[in-house]
């Protein structure tokens, strides 16, 4: 078994790049000056050559070359920043030498801006990027909410409006919620299972750097002729195959984001399976680890389907293939089946890690063991399995085979059962606890109530007759935001506040955190609850204009959505100022049991001086003498010492 470590300590020497030019042109980032043109040049050259050989005119066609750019420039970028250095050296057969860990860890802020292999640095890189895209996606929502404040058209054209909505959703889903859980997991999971890093640190770095590529690609679509992609985040064929150029930015952006999430998920799975500390059996893993494990399985198995669906649309668009062209034998509804076979599991990809976070937060602040730990873990697995069997509930009115409706309805509704188990178990965990109302705990409680509303509206949608009435209306928009904002995003806030001291070594401002919580909850409900009514009454989704009778309510919604937007400023102010000059946090400010809290805040560069020994479950609050993990004693932080120091 020593093989593993040997390879870890030996790496290929960095490539000796040829050329006599100034050295700065070879160093990461500066290299971009020539790697991007190089890769684009090669791609464009090949395509032009083929076009010339085939006699297609014009040989240089803008829209085709844009597609080429979206495929090649990311590679140029990744090579340029140095994400591939190691593998290139390996590929050309450079001799291996001992790993000097030079690309690991953050010693100054500059280390966050380069290819870094430390899971903690990558976690923070992820979170920072995701917050950036949350603001970007949120600002787009503010823009289209302004348009929706009155009936009729005021500020933007309908195509631009559709573009705003589409980019809003695409960013929120592919660049905020899906990856932010990978970011939080990146930081926390290796510490939680007692591993020094992820299994494949370089792959981990690569996964992160694909994200800004995907996000900027989606935002950049506003700049091309014809405007941003405007077919919703679902981008149904055949509409999407006949749209202006911006559509390709979605097709390719999703590919890069998808590749990133597959690689991270694979990394999580291997890490969790092969690198757990001694004694950390599956039944002793914290529920966040379980949640990541199930989520990652979903990602690895489902994401290729959205990749497929976007390839098909792209081919139909630029190569005039017939995947979804009914006149030439294509199957129109095929797009939706393939898309939802990913995108339904994707909604659980966006929820299960949140469930994990909530379990950590609730048991810590109720100071009680998680009620029904095993059933909690198993219900995650049940959602994973059921999640693959419900995709067609997005297609109840799509005209698919009628016999599929009832089975899909039954499986969709059954997901209420494992989800309910989780909700009730959290409530039972609270029962007779010693509850402390810190900001993360408030967000956790707010999450339960708001996600419940979203889940219940999901049950309405799951029932075919009701869905026939409300499908593609604002009722669905309300559902989306109750589960994604009231669900996922609130868990993200809970997690970020909870691990903030661990990540930064400083405490956030509790008062500001609570104000942020209350404004968010109130404004969120004022914004999204009335949408149920709009939908039931007859307002379809994705419309820039609507009947006058919906005017008052839409104005109210727009106003409270601006308040909701403003609340994010409080959050930003809190985390930025607290990181800079908040009071120092000690290793375990919450007196939690899981391993990440048993090391200093922030953790040492290599996490542990020695791997801890796991001796019990992660949530044994109130059990006399119970321990989750112990260090043998010559290591840095001993649990007993930490415990003593606290008193």
């Amino acid at each position: 078994m020593s093989k593993v470590t040997v390879e870890h300590e030996v790496q290929a020497a960095p490539p000796r790049l040829p050329g006599r030019g100034p050295r700065v042109l070879l160093s990461p980032w500066f290299r971009l000056v020539w790697t991007i043109p190089l890769f684009f040049g090669i791609g464009a050259g090949i395509v032009s050559l083929v076009r010339w050989l085939e006699g297609w005119h014009p040989i240089w066609q803008g829209s085709v070359q844009t597609t080429v750019a979206l495929v090649t420039i990311p590679f140029g970028f990744l090579v340029g920043i140095g994400a591939f250095d190691y593998w290139l050296a390996y590929a050309i057969g450079q001799p291996t030498r001992p790993e000097d860990h030079s690309s690991h860890g953050a010693r100054s802020w500059r280390d966050y801006l380069r290819v870094n292999t430390d899971h903690k640095v990558i976690g923070i890189q992820y979170i920072a990027a995701n917050i950036f895209f949350l603001i970007a996606g949120g600002l787009l929502a503010m823009l289209f909410r302004a348009e929706l404040a009155e009936p009729g058209m005021q500020y933007v054209s309908t195509q631009t409006f559709n573009g705003l909505v589409s980019v809003h959703a695409a960013l929120m889903i592919f660049l905020v919620i899906v990856p932010v859980f990978a970011g939080i997991g990146n930081y926390v999971i290796p510490l939680m299972i007692g591993a020094p890093d992820m299994a494949f640190p370089r792959l981990n770095a690569l996964s992160f750097w694909l994200l800004p590529v995907a996000g900027i690609m989606m935002l950049a679509s506003f700049l091309v002729p014809g405007g941003a992609f405007a077919t919703g985040w679902t981008s149904y064929a055949p509409l999407a195959s006949h749209q202006p150029l911006g559509q390709v930015f979605f097709n390719m952006g999703v590919q890069w984001a998808g590749a990133s999430s597959i690689m991270t998920a694979l990394n999580f799975l291997v890490t969790i399976i092969t690198m757990r500390a001694p004694g950390m059996t599956f039944w002793r893993m914290p529920l966040l680890v379980w949640a990541n494990f199930t989520t990652s399985t979903l990602v690895v198995l489902a994401t290729p389907f959205i990749a497929g669906s976007q390839f098909f649309v792209m081919f139909d668009r630029i190569m005039h293939t017939n995947f979804f062209e009914p006149d030439a034998g294509g199957y129109v509804l095929g797009y939706q089946h393939i898309f939802w076979f990913y995108s339904h599991p994707a909604v659980y990809i966006m929820m299960l890690p949140g469930f994990g976070i909530i379990s950590e937060v609730i048991s810590t602040f109720a100071r009680k063991p998680i009620f029904g730990y095993r059933l909690m873990a198993l219900s995650l697995v049940a959602i994973l399995v059921l999640g693959f069997s419900v995709w067609a509930h997005h297609m109840f009115v799509a005209g698919m085979a009628p016999w599929l409706r009832v089975p899909m309805m039954v499986t969709s509704l059954l997901i209420a059962v494992p989800t309910g188990i989780k909700i009730f178990s959290w409530l039972a965990t609270l029962w007779e606890g010693r509850i402390r109302f810190t900001t993360p705990m408030l967000f956790a409680l707010g999450f339960i109530a708001n996600f419940l509303i979203g889940g219940l509206s999901g049950v309405y949608l799951g029932s075919v007759p009701i869905d026939i009435h409300v499908s593609d209306t604002y009722f669905v928009v309300a559902h989306i935001h109750y589960v994604l904002f009231g669900g996922s995003l609130l868990t993200v806030f809970a997690g970020l506040y909870y691990w903030f001291p661990k990540m930064t070594g400083r405490m956030y401002n509790e008062r500001l955190g609570k104000i942020h919580f209350w404004i968010t909850i109130v404004a969120m409900n004022l914004t999204f609850f009335p949408m149920h009514w709009l939908g039931l009454q007859g307002m379809p989704r994705r419309v820039a204009d609507y009947q006058d009778r919906f005017a008052d309510l839409n104005l109210a919604i727009s106003i409270s959505s601006f308040v909701l937007g403003a609340s994010i400023v409080l959050f930003l102010y809190n985390i930025i100022t607290s990181w800079a000059r908040g009071p120092k946090a000690d290793g375990n400010p919450w007196r939690a049991r899981s391993i990440e809290w048993q090391v200093s805040s922030p953790p040492p560069i290599f996490n542990f001086d020695e791997i801890p020994q796991v001796v019990g479950g992660p949530y044994e609050y109130g059990v006399e003498g119970a321990r989750h993990a112990v260090f043998s004693g010559n290591g840095a932080v001993r649990l007993e010492d930490a415990e003593k120091a606290r008193r």
């Binding site: 093989k3 593993v4 470590t5 390879e7 390996y90 590929a91 050309i92 057969g93 860990h101 860890g105 010693r107 100054s108 802020w109 591993a195 020094p196 890093d197 494949f200 694979l266 799975l269 291997v270 092969t274 690198m275 757990r276 500390a277 001694p278 690895v300 198995l301 389907f305 990749a307 497929g308 669906s309 098909f312 081919f315 190569m319 293939t321 017939n322 995947f323 030439a328 034998g329 294509g330 199957y331 509804l333 095929g334 089946h337 393939i338 076979f341 930064t504 070594g505 120092k584 200093s600 805040s601 922030p602 040492p604 560069i605 290599f606 542990f608 001086d609 020695e610 791997i611 840095a636």
Partner: protein, 200 residues
């Protein structure tokens, strides 16, 4: 940020990770990647299923012919290359460097032959991806597979370069084993594609 300086006082090397599973991380990683790749093929086969089974589109439509024989020969070549790949791995496990090198080169050559034949077939087959749904699916599936052959060959090329530069030993040969697993996957996938697209 000073906190990081404080952290620096700790060890300069990571502790050795505990090994909590008997499977090698890299091999596991490759298997998971293959699972994901299989699902990508699954998406393409779903499109195939919709066009051919649900829509009942003629396969092939009147006037088009599938070069079953050429592709059959090609199949044989690819299957053989799996054996040479296996031979290369067994050789280095026993310390025969020459066998490793020969096995890899043979595999590489056969893979290239497969790819070139495929390209020639495209040029001669007489229908194009934009003609109809049949052409679309044909090129979609074979093209997806061709892309995988290309990736497999690239990985094998790395292994070959290192093999000739004297890397790998009976104890350390993951750099051969892992591309090998991928290559076998590409091979098996072709058999599925060949059966569904050409034979039935």
């Amino acid at each position: 940020m000073e906190a990081h300086v404080e952290a620096h006082a700790h060890a300069a090397h990571p502790p050795v990770a505990n090994v909590s599973s008997r499977i090698d991380p890299r091999v596991l990683g490759m298997f998971l990647f293959i699972a994901s790749e299989t699902m990508l093929f699954g998406a393409f086969f779903t499109a195939y299923f919709f066009v051919r089974v649900v829509n009942g589109y003629p396969w092939p439509p009147k006037g088009d012919h599938l070069p079953v024989l050429v592709a059959g020969v090609n199949t044989a070549i690819l299957v053989t290359s799996s054996f040479t790949m296996h031979w290369a791995l067994q050789s280095i496990k026993r310390g025969h460097r020459a066998g490793l090198q020969a096995g890899l080169v043979l595999t590489l050559l056969m893979g290239l032959t497969f790819l070139l034949t495929q390209i020639l077939e495209y040029a001669r087959v007489g229908f194009a991806p934009h003609d109809n749904a049949f052409g679309t699916i044909f090129y979609g599936l074979t093209g997806l597979h061709g892309a995988h052959v290309f990736v497999g060959l690239t990985l094998l090329l790395f292994a070959t370069i290192r093999a000739f530069r004297g890397h790998f030993s009976p104890q350390h040969h993951h750099g051969v084993e892992i591309p090998g697993i991928y290559w076998h996957f590409v091979d098996v996938m072709w058999i599925v594609v060949y059966t569904t697209v050409y034979l039935i």
